[in-house]
């Protein structure tokens, strides 16, 4: 209910003289739209148009060099699974995602707990954990490509000197080792990134909550599982969304470190797209794969956002 006094004030406000009205193009709304227009034009040109184009390409016969050869829907989608690497790549990408996400989540949590303590030396630890984040994924992959090489890798000589091994460990020579070595590289590169997200989440938990838990007689382990983890749920969900999305789209690390080998055992889905486009010269199938990846990722993210929502309500 509005009070009569307020209505009285409203009535006293002087009506706007018509002469003061500006033409529409000088209005504040028009100016705002003008400031947003470069971004709008950019997004339409380089986001909306390519998105429409990839849809059309996925429904067309589109060799790399000849270009558009007309609609052939749904041949590209049907033909996707003809590639004998398709299902192995899907399976491998999922396997990689599950392992990497699990390791990253646990390790980043431990690291965040370590660096949120107020102890001497903690700044050093935080910087040390965080440094690999500055490197590009390609640089990090090239680094580990040398690190794991039989030629200049540092681990084999040390193990040989200790008498633990003869010869060399095949760091990327077998399918399982190639997967494990790549996981080591990815964890090294990204653990600090997710640590910071969790650290920001930890620091936003009010200290009163911990005091209350202490007064109620909770020990450290109980406090962590009953108080910290539930309150950290939004940050944990963010870590999950980012790490799952990133892992499902894995490319650089495998392209550089294993090149899909040995015996195509580490080919990921995004690598399939690259191969279709630039080694089999079939942009139509590459586009169809891209559309499928987009749809799968949208579904995964919608499911995860639901999870995130429920966590914060």
């Amino acid at each position: 209910m509005r009070s009569p006094v307020a209505r009285g004030e409203e009535a006293q406000a002087p009506p706007r003289p018509p002469a003061a009205r500006r033409p529409w193009w000088r209005s504040r709304a028009a100016k705002g739209a003008a400031y947003a227009s470069p971004a709008a034009a950019f997004v339409v040109m380089f986001f909306v148009v390519p998105l429409l184009l990839v849809g059309r390409m996925s429904a067309s016969e589109w060799p790399l060099l000849q270009g558009d050869q007309g609609t052939n829907f749904p041949d590209n989608f049907d033909g996707m699974t003809d590639d004998r690497l398709f299902w192995p790549a899907v399976g491998f990408t999922l396997k990689y995602t599950v392992i990497v996400v699990a390791i990253l989540l646990v390790l980043a949590m431990i690291m965040a707990l370590i660096v949120q303590e107020r102890r001497p030396g903690v700044t050093f630890f935080r910087t040390a954990y965080f440094l690999p984040v500055a490197l590009g994924l390609a640089s990090a992959s090239l680094l580990f490509w040398g690190f794991f090489s039989p030629s200049i890798g540092p681990i084999d000589p040390i193990l040989r000197d200790l008498g633990l091994i003869d010869g060399n460990i095949r760091w990327i020579g077998t399918p399982n080792m190639a997967l494990l070595s790549t996981i080591a590289l990815v964890v090294w590169k990204f653990a600090g990134f997710f640590m910071i997200i969790l650290l920001v989440g930890l620091q936003s938990i009010p200290t009163e909550v911990y005091e209350a838990a202490r007064i109620d007689g909770a020990n450290r382990v109980q406090t962590f599982f009953r108080v910290t983890l539930p309150l950290l749920r939004p940050s944990l969900a963010l870590v999950l969304i980012l790490s799952i999305t990133g892992s499902l789209l894995a490319f650089d690390q495998f392209f550089i470190l294993t090149n899909g080998g040995p015996d195509n055992s580490t080919v990921t889905v995004v690598m399939l797209i690259y191969r279709e486009a630039f080694q089999r010269f079939d942009l139509g199938t590459a586009a169809a794969l891209s559309v499928v990846v987009l749809v799968v990722l949208l579904v995964v993210n919608i499911v995860q956002f639901r999870f995130l929502r429920r966590g914060t309500d």
Partner: protein, 274 residues
């Protein structure tokens, strides 16, 4: 009591220190390996810069690749800052038709995998003459920085008190004068964060140039170094590769250490939460 206290601290430092070593060893190793003697590299005897000399003379020359990467990164920073400064001003301080739709559309870029756009962009850029062009590459890199940049600049502009803007408008400033004289001073920490993210992305990205650049003299550094190692089959140059890793890492580590505060700001803002 004192002993117990010390004992309680020891496991912490063992775990924390062990992890620190794990994260530092590869960085230290690559630096040392790039100058160490090894039969598989150009540095045969004693420590020295042999690998860096190989790198210097590789194909189009290190200087060319440094220039390519710098050009792409700086242009990406400039384009990202330009679009997000004007756009953030619009989203943060104005109401206009289509405002929410446009903002959602920009955030939606995050939902679309890089590779899904690279396939059509390869075709589109062919028509526009932007394929094989560092300018075209910067446009793509800018596109992927826009969601974060726009969010960051929008909340930066929204945080500026209304009174400052109004008093300037009363003093006869136009909206652009307000932006140039007053707003820029208030939102520069946000701009620094956006610029840092854009630079690191432009400097480090691998998959966009892999798709869009096919002339080896136009390669940015990561692509050039990745090609260098597989240049001659059988004679892989591990040493020059690690020298390349060091060259690529140095500017990033430097900027990162100097601007760490602004990097972490990107996480604090919640901008990454979309």
């Amino acid at each position: 009591m004192r002993l117990q206290h010390t004992l309680g601290r020891t496991p912490y430092y063992v775990v924390a220190g062990g992890l620190a070593i794990m994260f530092l060893v590869p960085l230290v190793w690559t630096t040392v390996a790039s100058v160490s003697p090894h039969s598989a590299t150009a540095q045969q005897v004693g420590y020295g810069l042999g690998n860096y000399r190989t790198l210097w003379d590789y194909d189009a020359g290190l200087l060319q690749y440094l220039w390519n990467s710098t050009f792409v990164s700086v242009l990406t920073v400039a384009l990202t800052l330009g679009l997000s400064l004007l756009g953030g001003y619009a989203f943060g301080r104005f109401r206009f038709l289509g405002r929410d739709v446009l903002f959602l559309l920009i955030i939606a870029i995050l939902m679309v995998p890089y590779v899904t756009l690279l396939v059509p962009l390869w075709v589109l850029f062919g028509d526009l003459g932007l394929r094989n062009s560092l300018f075209g590459l910067s446009l793509v890199l800018t596109l992927y920085q826009l969601p974060f940049a726009m969010f960051m600049m929008r909340i930066s502009f929204e945080a500026v008190p209304k009174e400052i803007e109004e008093s300037a408008l009363v003093d006869g400033c136009g909206t652009f004068g307000v932006l140039r004289r007053i707003m820029v001073r208030a939102v520069w920490p946000g701009m620094l964060t956006v610029g840092l993210f854009a630079f690191l992305h432009g400097w480090n990205d691998f998959i966009a140039p892999l798709f869009l650049i096919n002339d080896s003299a136009t390669y940015p550094l990561p692509l050039a170094i990745a090609t260098l190692r597989q240049q001659t089959m059988g004679a892989v140059d591990f040493g020059a590769t690690q020298a390349g890793v060091v060259v690529m890492a140095l500017p990033c580590l430097f900027l990162f250490l100097v601007l760490q505060r602004y990097y972490v700001r990107g996480f604090m803002s919640g901008a990454l939460k979309g």
